[in-house]
């Protein structure tokens, strides 16, 4: 078997069997399970928790309030309370009521209320009551002014407003909303993956170097094969993890299909309008972004003498991806801003920023092609440089490590023949 694949599978299988991988995967699956089942879980805990509100009615509004509340389908049980406020307070103390409402009629013959509970930190119940009272007040006021219920409904009707993009191929609003969510989710995925798996590459290299097994390795496998074997081994690991997560996420969603599909909690994850090309772009930018950063991080990792120094060395590299992430976050609301356009061509930022532009705008293909070419060019450049630095770097053991060592490593690995 080619040595490149030996390194690749060794890296992959070794990590796959590691506790860290198993734990992060299980934790993520648990999280996904919780999210997809969150409404069920909330319902389970909330079922018996209807608020009991005692109503001291000094006017004649109780029945219409009850009607209104029933219409709103809120988890509130109204109870007409025939007693004084002191008695109501006692009822709360004894746990018969959760709160009470003094319902009054003001000079204008409209309803008004005072809501009293042990604390007013709970927001839902008073809000529902307020809305109900508002509705009732509107009806009373309208009747007084001689407006019929029908007319009132008509006034309440929201205006029809539609946005239509004139540019040919521009995204429709539906598409755009879905694209925005899709891009948003993907930005996080790319950002997180590059940091997480990129770190893994750097740590992997640094561990081999600090454990001094490196010299045996580079005497049997060329640094280039070794470095890219590692980078792609970790990439395979990442893909495996995502495959597990996506597959089980899909499975959980299927199980919840009936309750979630249309109006449910996860309806925002409906990507039916996402074009296939955007998904392809997502994968392409994701892989290239990973390759670029993993190459740089492997290079940096090879300069470290002790595994503890990795974090400090990869900080500047991580900063780049963090900047890219912030540009993209900003670009979500203003995708056509000039600096978003410019940074979509800079290889360090393009994996996220160009993907954002592709997702949110309809940009000509040559722009994407140009950005991709620059990105691939940067990967090749850093690949060549990384392999050289790696070759020299793994033989260097210094007291402290810094990015200045790149120069020293390059000198050490210089081909002189």
């Amino acid at each position: 078997m080619n040595k490149f694949f030996i390194v690749l599978f060794q890296t992959y299988l070794n990590r796959l069997k590691s506790k860290a991988f198993i734990i992060t995967t299980v934790m993520t699956l648990l999280l996904i399970f919780l999210i997809t089942n969150i409404s069920t879980i909330i319902n389970t805990f909330d079922s018996s928790e209807s608020d009991r509100v005692g109503v001291i009615d000094t006017g004649t509004f109780y029945s219409s309030l009850e009607k209104q509340i029933n219409m709103m389908d809120a988890e509130i049980v109204l109870e007409k309370f025939d007693g004084t406020e002191e008695e109501a307070e006692k009822a709360i103390e004894q746990g018969e009521l959760d709160s009470y409402l003094i319902l009054e009629e003001n000079e204008a013959e409209e309803p008004s209320g005072v809501y009293k509970a042990e604390t007013v930190a709970e927001q839902v119940t008073p809000q529902v009551l307020e809305t109900a009272l508002q509705q009732m007040k509107n009806t009373v006021a309208a009747e007084k002014a001689g407006v019929t219920q029908e007319q009132l409904n008509q006034i309440d009707q929201p205006v029809q407003f539609e946005k239509v993009a004139l540019e040919k191929g521009a995204k429709t609003e539906d598409e755009l909303n879905q694209a925005r969510v899709f891009v948003y989710v993907l930005l996080f995925v790319i950002y997180f993956s590059v940091i997480f798996y990129g770190n893994m590459v750097a740590v992997e290299v640094a561990t081999e170097k600090s454990s001094r097994v490196m010299e045996i390795l580079i005497s049997s496998v060329s640094p280039v094969k070794q470095m890219f074997g590692k980078i792609l081994g970790i990439a395979l690991l990442g893909l495996t993890q995502y495959a597990i997560i996506i597959a089980s996420g899909y499975l959980f969603m299927q199980m919840q299909e009936d309750s979630l599909s249309e109006t449910g909690f996860l309806s925002f994850l409906d990507f039916s309008n996402i074009s296939a090309s955007l998904i392809v772009y997502a994968i392409v930018f994701f892989m290239l972004g990973y390759l670029l950063y993993a190459t740089i991080l492997a290079m940096v990792g090879s300069l470290v003498s002790r595994a503890e120094e990795v974090q400090q060395m990869i900080m500047p590299v991580q900063l780049l991806i963090i900047i890219a992430f912030f540009i993209a976050m900003f670009g979500l609301s203003t995708p056509s801003a000039t600096f978003v356009t410019i940074s979509s061509y800079i290889p360090f930022f393009s994996p996220v920023v160009m993907f954002l532009r592709v997702g949110m705008l309809s940009i000509p293909f040559w722009e994407v092609a140009l950005s991709l070419t620059l990105l691939v060019g940067a990967i090749v450049l850093f690949g060549i440089m990384g392999a050289k630095v790696y070759r020299g770097g793994v033989l260097m053991y210094g007291k402290s490590s810094s990015l200045k060592d790149i120069g020293k490593a390059l000198k050490l690995s210089k081909r002189e023949q």
Partner: protein
């Protein structure tokens, strides 16, 4: 034949190895001696092509060593280390595969080597659980498991207890018998005297002595006399032909210019009193090393 021709290595202004010329016959154990920073590790690294020499050529059987021939080469680096969290077996399988072996071949070899070193129970242990000396044994196995033609051992005996040094020496001699060419470095002269026919002493990147061990000793000229007598020997310092006097508790060693001087000393001693022991011996490599390297220091 392993050949170094006019090999030099420059790190910026610093010269690590200068004009090194060596020819090492096949199926022999060759010793590379030198103090710290003499250029031994740099020489090995150039040979393995981990770094490139500034000048000169290095060839094994007429060809430059490259990654294509890595299955023919075994290397035990001076920087000791294995994957601490990996089991001995997995580790050796991985390293063996990288040297072009099949998994089943490695497994067979591992068992026989671990038994030879009397540590078969380490097979499923993690490396970090082993003592340093035992880790070194595992690393030695890693460097020879693929039966290399050319074996390079950088300070193979450092950090081992005397028992393990013997075990390892035996293994090295057996490998030689099996046809392996072995190049090893050390700063322990007795190991080199015991194992090598040919050697080279490096000092500050230059070969100060090079060639056949016996010839080196013969041409060195100077001899040692081991004397055990009942009286004070310090008067010998003034005898002609005596270079150095090292007085010990049980016996003293006198270094002399040539064999003739020994007879003068014998006469002088006989006149003084009772001599229990008088022995003329070859110079030790240690003497040669100290003189050559010491001279270069001056």
């Amino acid at each position: 034949m392993l050949e170094f021709q006019h090999v030099s290595k420059q790190f910026g202004a610093f010269t690590a190895v200068e004009e090194l010329n060596l020819s090492i016959p096949e199926n022999e154990i060759f010793g590379l001696l030198g103090g710290n920073g003499a250029g031994k590790t740099t020489t090995f690294r150039m040979l393995l092509r981990l770094i490139d020499q500034t000048k000169g050529t290095i060839s094994w059987k007429g060809e430059r060593i490259s990654y294509d021939s890595s299955h023919l080469i075994g290397y035990l680096p001076e920087e000791r280390g294995l994957y601490p969290k990996m089991k001995v077996k997995e580790q050796l399988i991985y390293l063996g595969k990288l040297r072009g072996m099949k998994k089943s071949e490695v497994e067979k070899e591992i068992t026989s080597w671990l038994e030879r070193f009397k540590v078969p129970e380490y097979l499923d242990k993690k490396v970090e659980e082993l003592s340093k000396g035992n880790q070194q044994k595992i690393q030695f196995i890693a460097s020879v498991i693929h039966k290399p033609e050319l074996l390079i051992l950088d300070e193979p005996f450092s950090g081992l207890d005397p028992v393990n040094v013997e075990v390892l020496k035996e293994a090295v001699l057996d490998l030689k018998k099996a046809g392996t060419t072995i190049l090893f470095s050390s700063h322990r002269m007795e190991h080199v005297e015991e194992l090598c026919e040919h050697l080279c002493i490096l000092h500050k990147g230059k070969a100060v002595v090079s060639g056949n061990l016996k010839e080196i000793k013969r041409s060195y000229g100077k001899k040692n006399i081991r004397i055990d007598a009942d009286f004070d020997l310090s008067f010998l310092k003034n005898v002609e032909g005596v270079l150095r006097l090292k007085q010990g508790v049980n016996h003293s060693v006198v270094q002399i210019e040539n064999e003739q001087a020994s007879q003068t000393i014998l006469e002088e001693l006989a006149r003084k009193g009772f001599v229990r022991k008088f022995e003329l011996e070859e110079p030790s490599l240690n003497d040669i090393f100290i003189e050559k390297v010491g001279a270069a220091y001056e």
